[in-house]
């Protein structure tokens, strides 16, 4: 809690409808965000039970700087992932961090399962578990609308919710936060579904006086000026993250058609520029972020004969254009937006969905599965059939789609095609075939996301390939991001928030913190995550990489399987030293 020497945790039991509040002094050494959430996950998880067992916890936490400084906008969710069976960690922006901060909570732990579909409201003087039976089955757009109409607090409110995929416990179901942001990866939506929890509405309207205004506002202004004056504003605001499509495609690092190719011949039609010219209608920001990287694209859909049209607006980002674009051979921006709308409404992670469809298409082409199973002939570039397939996954239409709803690793266990099932330790790949950094970073990253340690970025910045340097860089970045995510700084602003700035910011709001302590916090958090992974049975040495990574050249050229496993082994030894020390 800001200006206090404790972390305020709200515990909600869905089963008994009891709530409890604890002031945890012991959690201060984790600072906030992912540190606090990791510790709370470790304390509350039941490693011996299934990820979707009702006694498993969902943990949300805001960081030590949330809503206080510019671009510190994220909330972290931690849980046991139904997709990987181990550490689940996901971040969302929107208004959630501000509302939790102004509702007066640092973290929420939800456990138990409601007897009937329910939603939670968190207001200034109350926490309630309410009837959501009539909301069950609604898509993520509709449920947002009905809760918005039903609950007070407009403008100071955040509404997070799941769609049908979450209700049906698709292993990579997502959670929608304030319409345009998501806890996308690793299946938090399924965990909410397993608790009969459809939505959470949080109203933040408390008064929190600033203690040392002069110091605080001085630091605030410095950060604000750097954010708005530097290139991050222009890059992320201008055409946004999709601007990366063009250079990655040109350099041969854009995973295309289930990574059968590293260059997409229609890349120019789905580039950031193409979207900006054809579809971009609006830009938005998370609360407290002057950058405004959220890009909204619009397309026109004919819903009936006789010139009956509607306009549809959806958010788009680089990863979505890769997963629901190049990876499945979609060659127009309008079609990609149509697929995004589908995963958005059903509430599924766009990246996992796209990668799963890529695998399914190749499996169908190679006759590992028949049309009786796929129900529609899947083919790269066939949007109409992909729209149907996405729906079949969300509703687990038959055994084949049920397998797909559990991710490519599970599906390829059943139907074969492991060598082209593009996942790292069961988490579907991100849109970067950049080299060894991406492979090692995703395999070894605590949650097997490209964002754990930015391996794809190391690939692009390292001048000369050197195994030791690569392993060291990824290890250092993983720990640094643990620390950044304890505040929780949006990673787009990581260059603004250097150590000096972080210390000045924290000092101005009463944390007497040093550079060494920040390092120690990062180490402490990473060790907590590694303990969780160990308890859940993860062994880095057991990770198997799909052969396709070594067949299709990357941005760094042809990659070698042996070197990749060697790097993983080197990293593993580094971890052993780290955890023993």
């Amino acid at each position: 809690m800001i200006y206090e020497k404790y972390i305020k945790v709200l515990y909600i039991d869905m089963d008994t409808k009891r709530i409890r509040i604890e002031q945890r002094k012991d959690l201060i050494e984790y600072l906030g965000g992912v540190g606090v959430a990791s510790k709370l996950l470790e304390e509350n998880m039941k490693p011996e039970l299934s990820p979707l067992d009702e006694s498993q916890p969902i943990v949300f936490a805001i960081g030590a700087g949330s809503a206080i400084f510019p671009v510190i906008t994220k909330t972290v969710a931690m849980f046991i992932s139904p997709l990987t069976g181990e550490l689940g960690e996901s971040y969302a922006g929107g208004r959630m961090a501000l509302t939790l901060f102004l509702a007066g909570y640092d973290a929420i732990v939800i456990h138990g399962k409601a007897k009937k579909p329910s939603y939670i409201t968190i207001n200034r003087n109350n926490v309630e578990i309410k009837d959501a039976r009539a909301f069950w089955g609604m898509d993520s757009d509709e449920i947002g609308r009905v809760v918005r109409d039903r609950e007070p607090g407009g403008g100071k409110r955040s509404i997070i919710r799941i769609g049908p995929a979450g209700e049906n416990m698709v292993s990579y179901a997502s959670v929608c936060v304030d319409t345009y942001r998501h806890f996308g990866r690793l299946g938090l939506g399924a965990v909410m579904g397993s608790k009969n929890l459809k939505a959470i509405s949080i109203v933040g309207d408390r008064s929190i006086p600033i203690k040392n205004f002069k110091d605080y506002f001085k630091v605030y202004q410095e950060i604000y000026n750097r954010v708005t004056d530097t290139e991050i504003m222009s890059k992320y605001h201008d055409a946004g993250t999709p601007i990366n499509i063009e250079p990655l495609n040109a350099a041969g690092g854009l995973p295309t058609k289930n990574l059968r190719q590293n260059v997409f011949e229609h890349g120019d039609k789905i580039s950031g520029e193409a979207f900006a010219h054809k579809n971009l209608v609006r830009k938005m920001a998370c609360t407290g972020c002057p950058v405004g990287c959220i890009h909204i694209g619009q397309f026109r859909r004919e819903f009936d004969k006789g010139h009956e049209y509607e306009s549809v607006s959806v958010g788009y980002d680089y990863e979505l254009l890769f997963a629901l674009g190049s990876f499945i051979g979609i060659k127009s921006s309008d079609e990609i937006l149509q697929l995004i709308e589908k995963v958005e409404h059903l509430g599924m992670d766009a990246m996992s969905t796209g990668v799963v469809l890529g695998w399914a298409t190749e499996a169908f082409m190679k006759k590992l599965v028949t049309e009786e199973q796929t129900l529609v002939p899947l083919a790269f570039g066939n949007t109409a059939n992909y729209v149907k397939a996405i729906e079949y996954i969300a509703y687990k239409r038959n055994d084949f789609y049920k397998a797909l709803s559990e991710g490519v690793d599970k599906a390829s266990d059943i139907y074969g095609g492991k060598e082209f099932a593009m996942a790292f330790a069961k988490n579907e790949m991100a849109g970067y075939h950049t080299g060894y950094g991406m492979i090692l970073g995703s395999a070894a990253g605590a949650r097997h996301s490209h964002l754990c340690n930015g391996g794809y970025s190391v690939d692009q910045s390292m001048k000369e390939f050197n195994k030791e340097k690569l392993v060291d860089a990824i290890f250092a970045e993983e720990k640094e991001r643990c620390m950044l995510n304890s505040l929780i700084i949006c990673l787009f602003a990581r260059k603004v928030y250097d150590r000096k700035t972080i210390i000045a910011a924290l000092n101005s709001i009463g944390y007497a913190i040093t550079d060494e302590e920040l390092t120690a916090i990062g180490d402490r958090i990473y060790k907590t995550k590694l303990r969780i992974k160990k308890a859940l049975g993860f062994k880095l040495a057991d990770v198997k990489l799909p052969k396709r990574l070594f067949e299709t050249p990357s941005l760094s050229g042809q990659l070698d399987e042996g070197i990749s496993y060697e790097l993983i082994d080197m990293y593993n030894r580094k971890l052993e030293e780290f955890t023993a020390g």
Binding site: I208, M284, G288
Partner: protein, 139 residues
Amino acid sequence: MPKVLKSDGMNKCIGCFTCMLTCSGVNHQNHSVSKSAIKVKTSGGLQGKFISVVCIACKDERACAEACPSGALEKRKGGGVVLKPEKCIGCKRCVNACIVGAVNFDEDENKPIICRHCGICARFCPHECLRMEDVADDL
């Protein structure tokens, strides 16, 4: 020359709420957006447009000041009013009198939140939605 706030660029708003955070911070030394004199809202959920509700700096006749029974709202040069907190009794009549809905009430302080046209929101608006305009002294 007196200045007043103009929020005529709201079509460009990205909804970052920096205006509200800095208004609350500078004028009320508070982290909460609730203390802000300017309110950015969406009409019709996030898919709707962003609008701002803030003092429009009425000239000549100021309904809020007219409604005040204790003389706590004095005419401000160039438009709008200045709150004299020591004279305010917390009756909320100004809140109802403002037909653009720009007067909010601070329940913790038992005082209305009155825009000072100080320009901090415009200074921290990253997208030129808000600006300050020079106006003649009408008093």
